[in-house]
């Protein structure tokens, strides 16, 4: 034990010192300042967060947007992942698709949201197309609506779920599916009883990632809300950049953090329960 410690210590000294100095301590500063009000220890900031109807409305909007985003990402991402891994036979085509899938991920949220600001505008391509085809009789307002934010966030977060499901699916041995159909199962039965359960952990981890990123997203809602909709991270930014109330901002930050961690923990717990039900270890 101590010999191993002696070997590990020189390797770990710098990274651990760095993380303590610039990650752990700053987080402790936020927690402790959230527990202060007017220079004295107080739970007042948390009371303000909890007993203000406005915050509950913002929280509800944040969760509604994140929930819809997650559902849409799962519904759109799953088929694409399945298609790319199981249906596309040409390696060159698959490679091109993977590059196109990663390209948005490597581009700033700003640039991607900016694209949607242009597309979803009153005279944008989306309205032009919807009116042109006759689905709408006059342009619809997307910017400044929750729908607009969801469209933008789905776009930002979709690649995460495609990659999570796709990688899980790629690890499932196709022989299992062949065996299932050899034994007389219809393609749908095979999918329902073999393929889907086997890549469920991948889907779950994708869903958790998308939901947590959607709850904590600041940039996309800020750009697509047109100043009309507030989500929780915007409250935090306001406190630090315009109101300068770090105690209250700290309480808001901790609220967001705790919600995120509870969600991640909950999903991990569901994932483990699901995995043990199907007899697999969660990844």
């Amino acid at each position: 034990m101590s010999a191993a410690m002696n070997r590990a210590l020189p390797l770990l000294a710098a990274p651990v010192a760095f993380f303590v100095a610039f990650f752990a301590v700053p987080m402790i500063v936020v927690v402790s300042s959230s527990l202060m009000a007017g220079g004295v220890p107080s739970l007042g900031n948390y009371a303000r967060v909890l007993f203000d109807q406005y915050h509950w409305d913002v929280l509800a909007a944040t969760f509604r947007i994140a929930g819809l985003t997650t559902v849409a990402c799962a519904l759109l991402g799953y088929p694409l992942a399945y298609y790319l891994v199981r249906v596309v036979k040409s390696p060159a085509l698959r490679r091109t698709c993977v590059i196109l899938l990663v390209l948005p991920l490597f581009t700033s949220n700003i640039v991607r949201s900016f694209g949607w600001m242009v597309l979803l505008g009153r005279n944008g391509l989306v309205n032009d197309a919807l009116v042109g085809v006759g689905i709408l009789d006059r342009p619809m307002r997307f910017l400044g609506t929750e729908l607009g934010i969801v469209i933008g966030l789905v776009y930002i977060l979709l690649p995460f779920i495609v990659l999570a499901v796709g990688n899980a699916l790629a690890a499932v041995d196709p022989a299992l599916e062949d065996a299932s159909s050899d034994l007389g199962a219809t393609p749908f039965d095979t999918f329902r009883t073999v393929t889907f359960p086997l890549c469920l952990p991948g889907l779950m981890s994708g869903i958790v990632m998308v939901f947590t990123l959607a709850v904590s997203a600041y940039v996309t809602p800020a750009l697509l809300s047109g100043g009309k909709i507030t989500v929780f991270p915007m409250l935090i930014f306001q406190q630090y950049s315009t109101v300068f109330d770090v105690n209250y901002g700290g309480a808001l930050s901790m609220t967001l953090l705790v919600m995120t961690l509870v969600l991640v923990g909950l999903a991990g717990w569901i994932g483990n329960a699901g995995a043990s039900a199907t007899g697999r270890k969660a990844q």
């Binding site: 249906v87 590059i99 694209g115």
Partner: protein, 262 residues
């Protein structure tokens, strides 16, 4: 049959959805109109010229690139030894340490940005390059660990022991045996780390000023008030950098996503 057709239609629609906004930005950066038009009307490189003539864009590109380069180098210098210790040594609290080092992946960046602003203000580093840098190092370290750790396998360990048995000093073993073996993990970790730093907004926005800003933060502040083809040109450059990073990744280590050989 119908299910297959539906799958195909949905998949290609989703692919189109993924590409459309990027296409719109790049396309409208060439428009000859003074407002953003897609499809572009006429073709001109004027907007790129205006961008180059505006020193503040070049300065922001410079800050972003320097920041991402230094942060990536630091993340490698800190992350690789940490990965080695985690993969090679048994010590109490190892699991906790690993989750500490990986936790910036799940913590909201807005919260981290706020924490660093408050903390660095107390240290007298408020809204400085140093404040940006330490924040970026924290959030990109997980990418280095995630790419390097899986490559430090027991088989690879055996080669290190052979090297030591043959009389190599630890440093020689590291540079001649370990490093070449984890080269591809280092490359992909470094590229992911660089690009995550280069495109970060949520953390950076708390620690930049009007004079010292990164390119995504500058774009963010601008896009909220004005949308014009110069912004499309600046954005197109960032899309170009992303494409370059992916091609680099594909050429050096290969994008092994969505395929069963790994």
């Amino acid at each position: 049959m119908i299910a297959r057709l539906l799958l195909r239609v949905v998949s290609w629609s989703v692919m189109a959805y993924l590409i459309l906004p990027l296409l719109v930005i790049v396309g409208s950066s060439f428009t000859a109109t003074s407002y953003l038009a897609f499809p572009p009307q006429g073709l001109t490189l004027d907007w790129y010229g205006r961008m180059l003539a505006d020193n503040s864009y070049l300065a922001a590109f410079g800050t972003s690139t320097l920041l991402a380069l230094v942060a990536t180098a630091a993340a490698l210098l800190l992350g690789v030894p940490a990965a080695l210790a985690i993969a090679r040594c048994e010590f109490p609290g190892k699991k906790f340490l690993l989750s500490l080092l990986m936790s910036p992946l799940v913590l909201p960046h807005v919260v981290l940005g706020a924490a660093l602003l408050q903390y660095c203000a107390a240290l007298g580093l408020m809204r400085s390059f140093t404040a940006l840098l330490v924040g970026h190092i924290v959030i990109i370290m997980p990418f280095v660990l995630r790419s390097v750790l899986p490559q430090l396998t027991p088989e690879q360990r055996a080669l290190e022991e052979a090297s030591a048995d043959l009389g190599a000093r630890p440093m020689e073993t590291f540079f001649l045996v370990t490093l070449p073996q984890i080269r591809s993990g280092l490359a992909s970790g470094a590229i992911f780390a660089f690009i995550s730093s280069w495109i970060n907004v949520e953390l950076s926005i708390f620690n930049t000023t009007a004079e010292m800003t990164t390119i995504p933060v500058k774009l963010f502040n601008y896009v909220q008030y004005t949308i014009d083809p110069v912004i499309a040109a600046v954005s197109s450059i960032t899309i170009g950098v992303a494409a370059l990073a992916i091609i680099l990744l594909d050429l050096t280590v290969g994008l092994h996503l969505l395929s069963d050989r790994r």
